[in-house]
């Protein structure tokens, strides 16, 4: 019986709102845009942070990335002509890291040089990566054909390469790539494997692998190309000597990553006079990204909260006007025997119907906007179930909070005064 009355009350409320169609619609707009923007903003935020988190996760949360960096002082003063600059991580560093720390499960040393690769008349700029065999476990890229580099390749300083799909398509579009030979700066290598290409965009740190990579055993790279790089810059030759461009350290347990990173840093500080390396800890970046996401959500939440507040005030304003306009109706209902709480109920239900209808339309808008954003701006958007639930809860509570005052005011009217109202 009670439920039945609630249903009739809701029907009555809807009817009243339909009677004032345009006005109800305009009143709802505040809620529509409020809820719509909440969902849309949260979806953009969620999409962006998911993407960032995914990229960081791909770097491996149990990894530490140490990269060679040209010291700042040398870069800052180009007038001082330093014709030879020696910096970066050394083979000795890598060995020390591998042997000193018990938490280190494995290390991968990387030497990377920009070269031109050619097959017949086809040529492309590539990055020749001298890597130790652990590399392929680390980057987790699926092997499409052939095999990965092995410790034997390393030992024999074999002239073999694993290339990415992209390189294979560009250099060996018609040939069967496996077993083909490619020429990199005068050296000939046999292609033994192909790995999948995957485009990665920046997320704080550069992923160690790229699309235009070819991988060869580190020993081979060192033997064929040496550690010296000639660079032509500002009319003069610049010589750089870098042993390793990157050392990737795999720690046996996630909980030991941060301490190990700190210990490695201390050790490197002792052996390097200049700071010619950089340490990135994906795990720390992950934490940071998560914290950023929280902050972002709080900011978005506040903006959304303000817009919903505005929407709510709009609704309250209309309901107060409605109460004044319907003073006589209230008087009639009271004379007939309606209790105060029934008047409160009637007006409250109307406001809640108004705000939830606005919320419902807002949800539709909020589902539509992310699609448009993805379509036109190419951003990843993710509408979470949480944001939908939040919207429903918010629109209900906006209705109740902002409807209560007008409703109570309606119920407090003196029936005689109300009946006399024109």
């Amino acid at each position: 019986m009670r439920e039945l009355r609630l249903v009739r009350n809701i029907r009555l409320g809807i009817k009243n709102l339909v009677l004032n169609g345009l006005r109800s619609l305009l009143t709802m707009l505040g809620m529509v845009f409020g809820v719509g923007s909440v969902i849309a903003m949260l979806s953009v935020g969620e999409g962006a942070s998911q993407e960032a988190l995914e990229q960081i996760r791909r770097l491996g949360s149990e990894n530490i990335l140490i990269s060679s960096v040209k010291p700042v002082e040398e870069e800052a003063s180009p007038q001082v002509r330093i014709f030879m600059s020696i910096y970066g991580l050394t083979y000795a560093d890598e060995q020390r890291i591998r042997e000193t720390f018990s938490a280190v499960r494995n290390t991968v040393a990387v030497k990377s040089v920009r070269k031109e690769a050619r097959v017949g008349t086809r040529a492309m700029e590539i990055r020749a990566m001298g890597v130790t065999p652990g590399w392929f476990d680390l980057v987790k890229r699926p092997l499409l054909a052939g095999r990965a580099l092995t410790p034997q390749d390393e030992e024999r300083r074999a002239a073999v390469v694993v290339i990415t799909e992209t390189v294979a398509r560009r250099l060996l579009p018609i040939e069967h790539p496996l077993g083909s030979f490619i020429q990199v700066s005068g050296e000939i290598f046999e292609v033994v494997g192909i790995v999948q290409s995957m485009s990665t965009q920046g997320a704080g740190i550069q992923a160690p692998d790229r699309e235009e990579d070819i991988y060869l055993p580190l020993g081979t790279a060192r033997e064929r190309y040496g550690d010296l790089v000639m660079r032509r810059s500002a009319g003069s030759f610049m010589r750089e000597q870098v042993e390793l461009h990157q050392v990737i350290v795999q720690v046996d347990d996630v909980s030991r990553v941060e301490n190990t990173a700190r210990a490695i840093e201390e050790m490197l500080e002792r052996f390097h006079k200049k700071k010619d390396y950089r340490i990135d800890v994906p795990l720390a970046l992950l934490r940071q990204a998560e914290a950023t996401k929280r902050t972002f959500n709080i900011v978005l939440g506040s903006i959304a909260g303000i817009s919903l507040l505005v929407g709510g005030i709009g609704i309250m304003n209309i309901m107060l006007a409605s109460v004044t306009e319907r003073t006589r109706e209230i008087g009639i209902r009271r004379a007939i025997g309606a209790k105060r709480r029934q008047i409160v109920g009637q007006f409250l239900i109307e406001t809640v119907v108004l705000s939830t209808a606005g919320g419902a339309i807002g949800i539709c808008v909020g589902l539509l906007i992310p699609l448009l954003i993805t379509y036109f701006a190419g951003l990843t958007t993710i509408v979470t179930a949480g944001s939908l639930v939040l919207s429903v809860v918010i629109s209900l509570s906006v209705g109740i909070v902002f409807g209560l005052y007008p409703a109570v005011r309606a119920a407090r009217l003196d029936p005689i005064e109300a009946l006399r109202h024109e």
């Binding site: 009739r8 109706e329 009639i332 007939i336 025997g337 209790k339 105060r340 029936p415 005689i416 009946l419």
Partner: protein
């Protein structure tokens, strides 16, 4: 209930308004009993306190002093909900300006008291049809009040006042907005209800209208001036 029992009784009732620091006595010591099934016209000059009296009888207001009993239930010292409950169960109102809710249809207006009584939709529907037939408006159930003449609107209002089957009907100048012929129709309807046992108390200025009532209560300056009763 014995026929002579009072449906409404007032004992030394005062209603005082404070206007600009001065007390205005809209009612100044009124004592009277309205027996069940009687028909009353309350008359008097403008501002004499007729509406004030009717509002007290209708539990829309409470006396400043004195006591008021509806069906022997005191209205002093009870809360707003209890007064609403008395209005809902025992009273029916008819107003000068009809006071129908413009957005609702004739049917929905008549069903309004039943909604607050918690009747289900089907039963309410049947009751509304019955009452519309009683006042001769069974063809107009789907109409809006604005589509009806004044007399028809007042008949809808009477149907609504009867929906909760009240023992007492209170009317404040029910014919005030109607022409004489239509006013007479309304009075006949009220007279008919009185013959069916309802206590009818109405305020009116017009002697021809008052003539339908058995008793005429004359008020002057918030006091009972005199009571005239027709014989028989």
């Amino acid at each position: 209930m014995n026929p002579g029992a009072a449906s409404i009784r007032l004992e030394e009732v005062w209603k005082t308004y404070r206007v600009g620091g001065e007390d205005v006595h809209a009612l100044a010591g009124v004592s009277i009993a309205f027996p069940q099934g009687s028909f009353w016209a309350i008359m008097g000059p403008s501002g004499s306190g007729k509406s004030t009296l009717l509002n007290l009888l209708g539990c829309l207001d409470r006396p400043s002093r004195g006591a008021c009993y509806i069906q022997d239930q005191p209205t002093a010292g009870v809360d707003d909900d209890a007064l609403s409950e008395i209005r809902l169960r025992h009273l029916g109102f008819v107003f000068q300006s009809f006071n129908l809710i413009a957005q609702l249809s004739v049917r929905e207006n008549i069903e309004l008291p039943l909604f607050y009584l918690g009747w289900d939709a089907e039963r309410s529907r049947r009751r509304a049809e019955e009452l519309a037939a009683l006042v001769g408006l069974e063809q107009r159930l789907g109409h809006r009040p604005s589509e009806l003449s004044g007399g028809q609107q007042q008949r809808v209002a009477i149907a609504r006042a009867l929906a909760n089957d009240p023992r007492i009907i209170l009317a404040d100048e029910p014919t005030g907005n109607l022409d004489t012929a239509t006013g007479i129709q309304i009075m006949e309807l009220l007279g008919d209800l009185n013959r069916r046992g309802k206590t009818v108390i109405m305020v009116t200025h017009e002697p021809e209208i008052a003539a339908y009532a058995r008793h005429r209560l004359h008020i002057r300056d918030g006091r009972i001036d005199r009571i005239e009763s027709a014989d028989g």
